[in-house]
């Protein structure tokens, strides 16, 4: 029997990525013979502890940090929550947070539920975005007050791929004694980052977005930044995150970071060219289609395109027939009834918001796949438009 997964055209890498075969390979021994507890005194466990140290160094190298600044968590969401809650507990008297209207639910929902989580009410400034999804640095500056505890601004947006000027924003926060967190889950591995000379206090990343395993994440905590653990418990991670380590996944993440560093150049040249070819092919191949997001300040792998007058889920299901995997910001794919908060924040008109498709590539994509998708999409859109009461032709 052939495995369907070998034949699919996978362009949904912002949702999750294929675990690199090299990563799988290094993980397997820890799911088998090497089951020791890294905290144990005996050599059998202790050696596993050294493998974790190696992984930590590889993660640190990828982001320009030192190993002591890296703690392992269970996912990107945990890293986000840990960073923000640590800041709130460090400055309990301050009651203001700055974030954006386009954050991933990992940050967005936390900010909406702070009262439930902390027992205190917080004032949350959610920075607006323009039609291209970019934030206004002046609005940000004006929002920084003495009462502000932390600014949490994503490095890159998962739906549009837009990149935000977090380096500069972190410096502006630091000058006012405000902590800065960035959700870099989509940025790490896709664009080069070097935290060494930056004023970023906390950074979150997640294994499964860079060809590592699911269920492992990292929180970077700048040396000198005060930290309050989210999961006190054992002495793991120097008491900063309790819980016996997810050894196999941590080792896998280390390998994934090593590969990401080696592939960074390709990601920003070949993958970017593939993305551009796909984008141009779709925008020119389908009339009344539009790009959602910023033309240039964007991850090299992401393109989000709206096909007007048709609905995203219907598009995705037809794509599924051709084994093409992508995502939609459409309401009907999410179980909620409104299109994605990101597209709404950008003011994408309703005619287009319901028909948005996000394609997110990786180094595993080929030119043939791009051409295949560019060929398959126009007839799908045409078919659905013929059925749409709003479609009046070109």
């Amino acid at each position: 029997m052939t495995n369907v997964r070998d034949e699919i055209v996978y362009m949904d890498n912002n949702a999750t990525t294929m675990v690199a075969p090299e990563v799988v390979e290094v993980m397997i021994p820890y799911l088998g013979n090497l089951y020791g507890n890294p905290s144990s005194m005996h050599t059998f466990g202790g050696l596993v502890g050294q493998d974790i140290s190696d992984a930590r160094r590889k993660v640190a190298d990828l982001i320009g940090a030192t190993p002591e600044e890296v703690i392992f968590t269970s996912c990107g969401t945990e890293s986000d929550s840990t960073a923000i809650l640590s800041a709130l507990r460090t400055f309990p008297e301050k009651r203001h947070i700055i974030t954006t209207r386009v954050e991933h639910p990992a940050v967005k929902s936390l900010c909406e539920n702070l009262e439930m989580v902390t027992g205190h009410k917080y004032r949350v400034t959610r920075l607006k975005v323009d039609a291209e999804g970019m934030i206004d640095i002046d609005e940000y500056e004006a929002a920084l007050t003495e009462d502000t505890v932390i600014a949490s601004i994503m490095w890159a947006n998962n739906e549009t791929g837009n990149i935000y000027p977090v380096e500069k924003m972190a410096t502006m926060a630091k000058q006012r004694g405000i902590l800065f967190h960035t959700d870099a889950v989509q940025a790490v591995g896709k664009i080069p980052l070097d935290l060494k000379n930056l004023d970023i206090d906390f950074l979150s990343l997640s294994g499964h977005k860079l060809h590592g395993p699911k269920g492992v994440g990292v929180l970077y905590i700048k040396r000198g930044t005060h930290f309050v653990p989210f999961l006190p418990g054992g002495h793991q991670e120097h008491g900063r995150r309790g819980g016996t380590e997810n050894v196999a996944s941590i080792v896998g993440l280390g390998k994934a970071c090593e590969l990401a560093a080696a592939n960074m150049e390709e990601e920003n040249t070949r993958v970017k060219r593939l993305r551009d070819r796909l984008e141009e092919g779709l925008l020119s191949g389908v009339s009344q289609s539009r790009l959602n997001g910023h033309k240039t300040d964007r991850l090299p792998n992401t393109t989000n395109i709206s096909f007007e007058f048709v609905e995203g889920e219907a598009i995705l299901l037809h794509m599924n027939q051709h084994k093409i995997c992508a995502s939609s910001g459409s309401a009907c794919t999410s179980g909620s009834l409104e299109p994605s908060h990101v597209l709404r924040a950008m003011g994408v008109p309703f005619t287009a918001a319901h028909g948005s498709i996000r394609f997110s590539l990786s180094t595993y994509n080929s030119e043939e796949e791009i051409d295949y998708v560019v060929e398959k999409m126009p007839p799908i859109i045409e078919l659905l438009r013929k059925m749409s009461p709003f479609w009046k032709g070109n």
Partner: protein, 279 residues
């Protein structure tokens, strides 16, 4: 991934009767682009009132397209009177069922059918009357009551799944709960009807804040030649204005946070947030 039956997939991938009937006897249009789905249904009836042709145009997800397609199949061959008896449940059943979040697609089919038949008979639709409850999706109280009765709905969540009402900003949830309570009457058991936990009303809050400012805060400020005035209370946000010597004082922010806010949190409500009126 939605769990669709084979029948839904079949009608989605190979929809029947797409288009518009020429010289239609009746046509109805429901939904809008903003809602995320819309359906235009048209049909032709012969001299005996039998529907001989029906076509649809749909903007929406797979189940919206499948519901429209199967509806045209059910209609054709029926008399107009019989067609009027088709319910949204009939449409969903013909598809082998729909995921509950998608039931509104079958409701849209039924509504378009009614609109088309009303058009055929030259009637004004009763549904066009009623009072809009959900502004996001333009759903009226009559739409809601009807869905509650026909599909035996027992919670606001179910109302949202069937009619979309409440699925947008959510402001109408209280009103939906009220309609539900009225529609179901006392006999039936309604879930999720507990009133929200009791909180201090704004008026009570203002009164207590004034008292605390007068008793605990003002005397201290006056000693330094200053004063404070309460400007506004909005939810947990208390806006004040510092007067006299306090106004020009560089420490005014500290005064407000360290002194005023602390006192108010201690003596009125511990989640109050005090801010200075912006100039």
């Amino acid at each position: 991934m939605w769990e669709y039956t084979d029948k839904v997939q079949q009608h989605f991938l190979n929809p029947q009767n797409v288009g518009e009937v020429e010289k239609a006897s009746g046509a109805g249009e429901v939904g809008s682009l903003a809602c995320g789905d819309a359906l235009k249904l048209s049909f032709k009836a012969d001299a005996n009132d039998i529907i001989i042709e029906a076509k649809f145009k749909t903007f929406g997800c797979a189940s919206a397209i499948a519901s429209s397609s199967v509806l045209t199949e059910i209609m054709i061959g029926k008399s107009v009177d019989e067609a009027l008896k088709i319910t949204n449940e009939d449409i969903a059943d013909a598809l082998g069922g729909l995921p509950k979040e998608k039931m509104h697609c079958s409701v849209m089919g039924r509504e378009a059918l009614e609109a088309a038949i009303a058009d055929y008979r030259g009637l004004v639709l009763p549904m066009a009357e009623g009072e809009i409850v959900c502004e996001c999706f333009g759903v009226t109280d009559l739409d809601v009551i009807r869905a509650v009765n026909e599909s035996n709905l027992r919670s606001v969540e179910e109302i949202t799944n069937f009619t979309k009402a409440g699925g947008g900003c959510g402001k109408c949830e209280d009103r939906l709960r009220e309609i539900l309570r009225e529609a179901v009457g006392k006999k039936a058991e309604v879930v999720n009807l507990d009133p929200p936990p009791k909180r201090m009303t704004t008026l009570q809050k203002i009164k207590q804040i004034e008292e605390v400012l007068e008793r605990e805060v003002r005397p201290g400020l006056k000693k330094d030649g200053g004063d404070i005035e309460l400007i506004d209370v909005d939810g947990d946000f208390v806006t004040v204005s510092l007067r006299g010597a306090c106004k020009s004082c560089k420490k005014s922010q500290t005064t407000i946070k360290e002194y005023v806010e602390k006192k108010l949190r201690e003596l009125v409500l511990d989640n109050l947030i005090v801010e200075e009126e912006s100039q």
